[in-house]
């Protein structure tokens, strides 16, 4: 059962990592224009991030 001592923290850390990742994408406004973003990949223009402010 000692393996639990590693596995539980690992599983929690992985979960937290996923959560942090999701919150990052949300904060950086990656869900504002899902349709446009999926098309922009086809364009060769340099495109860093959405404009900051409405």
């Amino acid at each position: 059962m000692n393996v639990l001592a590693y596995l539980i923290p690992i599983s929690l850390a992985l979960g937290a990592l996923g959560l942090v990742g999701f919150l990052y994408t949300l904060k950086s406004r990656q869900y504002d224009d899902p349709e446009g973003d999926s098309r922009r990949i086809l364009s060769d223009r340099w495109d860093d991030r959405p404009k900051d402010d409405n």
């Binding site: 929690l12 937290a16 919150l23 349709e35 446009g36 098309r39 223009r45 959405p50 404009k51 409405n54």
Partner: protein, 697 residues
């Protein structure tokens, strides 16, 4: 900010952004393809008209949007906050569920306690963050002395946490951390769906408003200057160009023209206006430029006064309580009483505080309105998504339910059942020479009758006669010379012929001096006949109301087979008639576009207006028809009935689960495993049931 309704691919994005950024003065431009908008940062001297021209040259239709009419930022931050809470609840519940499965499958003693403690460590902060909206709402309701759905939800979550903590402390067998988290997760999902559907509808509705950028041409020192309408004052001189809408009530000081009053009164025939005549805000100037001296501006215009009528009528409708609210009203007290009884019963019978509290928590969790919370938003999201695809925008949350109850449909004529664009009927009786003269005279004029002639001439490929000295005589017509003789097209009394009846007509004088009367009729909108047929098969009664003259309304009603019609209705008459129908116990759907319909739209049980309608009419109605086609109205009625049926079904499914699970909980047999199963299966089955709406047809 620009609206670009026609963009659809990555090449469009690149082209639009490229074209805008190279335009002098523009610092940056970014397209949002989902919203079909472009956001432009530019130096102050760059005007919107310049940019729409740039877009037009690239081949894109573009309109300026008024950013102050868009509340985008507030709705999108609210949505994002909800999504963040949803994510936290989701991740936390997954982790806790993992630990709980270990407990359910037989973890013992120290291991179980450890798992419970870890669960507690995850659940407490996660719930403190994600369940905030429920706590806040519940607290607000309680302080106002009411009960809403959020009260039992908050109580269930809080009680589950407290008893679970207590159990964990005493190393008990059952902890409900997973249930509390999944409950929060499912309910937040329902909330989020609801918020998303509503914000999509709102942003589309706001965009319609934002398209009408309030600008006017004020005459300063003899030359027109573009200023916002809000800056106009009484006594200002305002120039209204042909095709423009009067921004203020005013008296004509210069110019002669005809105005289209269809949006205000429903009349299809333009009226002549000259110096000294009065013009109300909202009337469209047709033929010649007019200079108005403003007599009333802003809130005092007759347009705004009519809109105020709406506010009064509207208050009647807010009394409607949605199915969900009615269910909550029954449900919330019931659940509280049930769990209180279970608690008291067990306390008296066993005398054990801990057991009784556990049972009470189990009852609250199992009866949790999870399914109820999802039942309505899931259905409305599916239904409004489907109607949106058909071109119907639902602005009001309870509109679908009200639409399902409709048994009488009242239509306005001009601009709603008809396009408002007249069609020439006796074109065929003209000779080729006469046709070419008419086409030449009509081309390039803003007058709707001229445009009708130009349109029919263009489809037939009539060549235009070579005219010289073409001169528009505002308020009367057009004249020109052809080979030395005067030819004229215009009002019948100007040409000097008497029309047979009051119908819409114009007259043409050709080079040989002969005068011909051209008769027009209003054309019905696309899909009108199909929609009326569909309404009839659904067994609904149809009534036609119009501010137009009796003869025009009668012939139109006959052509569409509408039996009940009323003509020459003033706005008050329309509203009163709708109110009378309502008093008879009928549920009226009002469809109208003009300012003269707004009061009727607001007093009807539920209302629809086309996207071309005046802002005030759109604001007063629950749904907006985006396309030209009327057919979605028939579909909307059947979808609404279907949706309401699904909502009721979902309530029944949720009740069914409760009937099975509640006795178990009260009897004390409920374990966290049973609670989790009951909750998830009922939530999933109501969501699946809701999805059936989107699938059909």
């Amino acid at each position: 900010m620009l609206s670009l309704p026609t963009i659809h691919c990555q090449a469009c994005i690149a082209k639009v952004e490229q074209a805008l950024t190279v335009h002098p003065g523009v610092t940056s431009a970014r397209v949002n393809l989902t919203l079909k908008r472009a956001l432009v940062d530019a130096a102050p001297e760059v005007t919107a008209a310049e940019l729409t021209d740039v877009m037009a040259r690239e081949g894109f239709e573009a309109h300026e949007l008024d950013p102050s009419a868009l509340n985008e930022t507030t709705t999108s931050t609210a949505g994002r906050a909800l999504l963040m809470r949803l994510a936290v609840a989701g991740f936390a519940s997954m982790n806790v569920m993992l630990l709980s499965v270990a407990v359910w499958s037989g973890a013992e003693d120290a291991t179980r306690d450890l798992f419970h403690w870890i669960s507690a460590a995850i659940a407490l902060p996660a719930i403190a963050f994600s369940a905030q909206p429920f706590f806040v709402n519940a607290w607000r309701a309680l302080r106002a002395g009411r009960l809403n759905m959020d009260v039992p939800i908050s109580l269930a979550i809080a009680l589950a946490l407290v008893t679970s903590l207590w159990e964990t402390w005493l190393s008990g067998h059952h902890a409900y951390f997973d249930a509390a988290l999944t409950l929060t997760f499912f309910l937040l999902a329902g909330r989020w769906l609801d918020a998303r559907a509503r914000s999509a509808a709102r942003s589309a509705a706001e965009e319609l408003t934002a398209l009408e950028v309030p600008r006017a041409l004020r005459i300063d020192d003899g030359s027109p200057v573009e200023v916002p309408v809000a800056e106009l004052r009484r006594g200002d001189h305002v120039l209204v160009r042909p095709g423009g809408r009067a921004p203020v009530d005013g008296k004509v000081v210069k110019g002669r023209s005809e105005v289209d009053r269809a949006l205000l009164t429903g009349e299809t025939v333009p009226e002549p206006r000259g110096p000294g005549d009065l013009i109300s805000a909202g009337e469209v100037n047709l033929t010649g430029p007019l200079t108005l001296q403003a007599t009333a501006v802003g809130q005092d215009t007759s347009l705004q006064r009519m809109a105020a009528l709406v506010a009064i009528a509207e208050s009647g409708r807010s009394r409607y309580t949605s199915l969900a609210d009615r269910a909550a009203k029954l449900y919330a007290p019931g659940v509280h009483i049930l769990s209180a009884l279970a608690f008291l019963g067990w306390l008296i019978w066993s005398g054990d505080m801990r057991v009784s509290l556990n049972i009470a928590a189990a009852v609250l969790i199992i009866t949790c309105p999870c399914a109820l919370g999802l039942a309505v938003p899931a259905v409305t999201t599916a239904a409004s998504g489907r109607l949106f695809g058909k071109g119907l925008l639902i602005k009001n949350a309870t509109a679908l339910e009200r639409l399902a109850e409709v048994d009488t449909v009242v239509f306005d004529k001009t601009g709603t059942l008809t396009t408002g664009a007249p069609k020439l009927i006796n074109w065929g009786s003209l000779t080729e020479a006469q046709k070419s003269i008419a086409a030449a005279l009509a081309s390039g004029s803003q007058h709707p009758l001229s445009q009708a002639i130009a349109a029919i001439a263009q489809t037939e490929g009539v060549s235009e006669a070579a005219l010289s000295d073409r001169l528009e005589r505002p308020g009367f017509g057009v004249e020109a010379t052809l080979g030395g003789a005067v030819v004229r097209l215009g009002r019948a009394d100007w040409i000097g012929v008497a029309p047979e009846d009051e119908a819409m007509c114009a007259a043409l004088q050709t080079d040989d001096g002969a005068a011909i009367v051209l008769t027009f009729e209003d054309t019905s909108r696309r899909g009108a006949a199909e929609m009326l047929a569909e309404l009839e098969t659904q067994g609904l009664e149809v009534v036609l109301l119009s501010g137009d003259r009796t003869a025009a309304v009668a012939s139109f009603a006959r052509s569409l087979g509408i039996e009940t019609w009323h003509a020459s209705m003033r706005p008050e008459d329309k509203a009163r008639l709708v109110a009378e129908l309502q008093d008879e116990g009928r549920h009226v759907l009002m469809v109208g576009d003009g300012l003269n319909d707004t009061a009727a739209l607001a007093s009807a049980h539920v209302s629809i207006s086309p996207a071309q309608a005046l802002d005030a009419a759109r604001a007063a109605s629950d749904m907006v028809l985006l396309g030209q086609d009327l057919a979605p109205i028939g579909t909307a009625l059947s979808v609404a009935r279907q949706a309401t049926r699904r909502i009721r079904e979902n309530f029944r499914i949720a009740t069914f689960y409760n009937i099975i699970a509640v006795p178990l909980a009260v009897a004390g047999f409920a374990t966290p495993l049973i609670a989790a199963l009951a909750m998830s299966t009922s939530s999933i089955s109501v969501s699946l049931n809701a999805l059936r709406i989107g699938g059909r047809r």
